[in-house]
Amino acid sequence: MIEFKLPSLGADMDEATLLEWRVKPGDKVKRGQVVALVDTAKAAVDVECWHDGEIFELLIEPGAKVPVGTPIATLLEAGESPPRVRRQAAPAAPSTESAPAASPMAAALVAEPALPPASRPRVSPAARKRAAELGLDPAALSGSGPHGVVTLDDVEAAAQPAAPVDRHAAMRQAIAAAMSRSKREIPHYYLSETIALGNAMTWLQACNAQSTPEQRLLPGVLLLKAVALALRDYPQLNGFWREGAFQPAAGIHLGVAIALRQGGLIAPALHDVADKPLRQLMSELGDLVQRARSGSLRSSELSDASLSVTQLGDQGVDCVLGVIYPPQVALVGFGRILERPWVEAGQLCARPTVIASLAADHRVSDGHYGARFLGEIRRLLQDPDKL
């Protein structure tokens, strides 16, 4: 039997509210499959399962708020036969088949357990009619009416997802917690370098000139790819500080800081950036931005990022010196791409340039190492064909 725990949703999200299950007991699930939808301070998140197996029991009900790491379901491994008795199979539960009744939460919700099963469930006629329309079992709801009668309001409430949280306040809290932790625990050092983008921008213009808007590449995608490729040679910046030691990350998954229209930000991961061609990265980035803003990210996207990148050039700033997102150990920032005075072969000229910055964790790397990393990004960006 495998205990499936609510996975990490990133450093600034330590609990989540279950909105709905996407599976039921008896369902076969594959690693990576979405099994539940939860709500967090920042966004609704599709929770992916990390084991192959068969869902045995769902341990929490929609509406329940639980900390990360809480067991939320049990799975049977391939070939494992179900235990004879379900842990919570109370004999009173009338419908063990309709999955949620097997869980402790549901057992608590079943109205009036003292009633003999033969007696008529106390449900108001309006509630019964509405429940039938919604496909709910009114007898499984807790009644708020006199003597625990299930009313129309109870049915309507049961049909609604969990009450909306004050997203803005919750998001500020989440950012405050993560960033305070970062500034309290991580000894940051900062470096910056102005990088000429003449070649890159000329290449990009030529590439985009023949394209429809849907096919065009943004300069930011070149920058992301260059960061990812440089990380191959500078692994001390790609990973996590956990339990007093550095753990290099297995893949190069870049957290992309995305400003949300209603305020706040989220930095979901773009996976395996170093291995993907630019066009694929562009379409995946577009998809990620849209999903971040519409609130449909996956749990792995919120916990996997091994280094984050923030680009504030669109807002017109020259340079951003970022705050590392724990447990990551570095953050790369890019300001605005702009024509600036530049000296080339002894001649003063105007060239598009960008100021790249690195904020890195001094427990893991030193300025010398970080400087060489920025230099590698610069070198890669001079040869856009190879990105």
Binding site: Q205, N208, A209, T212, P213, E214, R216, L218, P219, G220, A259, R261, Q262, L285, G286, V289, Q290, D314, Q315
Partner: protein
Amino acid sequence: MDKQQLRQQVLEELQRIAPELEAETLRGDRPLRDEVDLDSMDWLRFLGALHRRFAVNIPEADYRQLHSLDSLIGYLQQRLTTASAQNLAK
């Protein structure tokens, strides 16, 4: 299509990208991307939407003509007029 209809349709596409946008308070002579807070990804999505809706592919080289909403509408109207004139000529 007259200017008012065109403006209405452009605003619809803008609102799809920036749902909080209030059309009445949008100042047509101000820099559009600042007025609506469009980042470069939003901007590309917006141009993609205009491409699909009006069959007008706006090249990067013309971005400077799209400074404000008013100038964007003017630009689109001109492109659409040219396109229909060409169709008539065929």
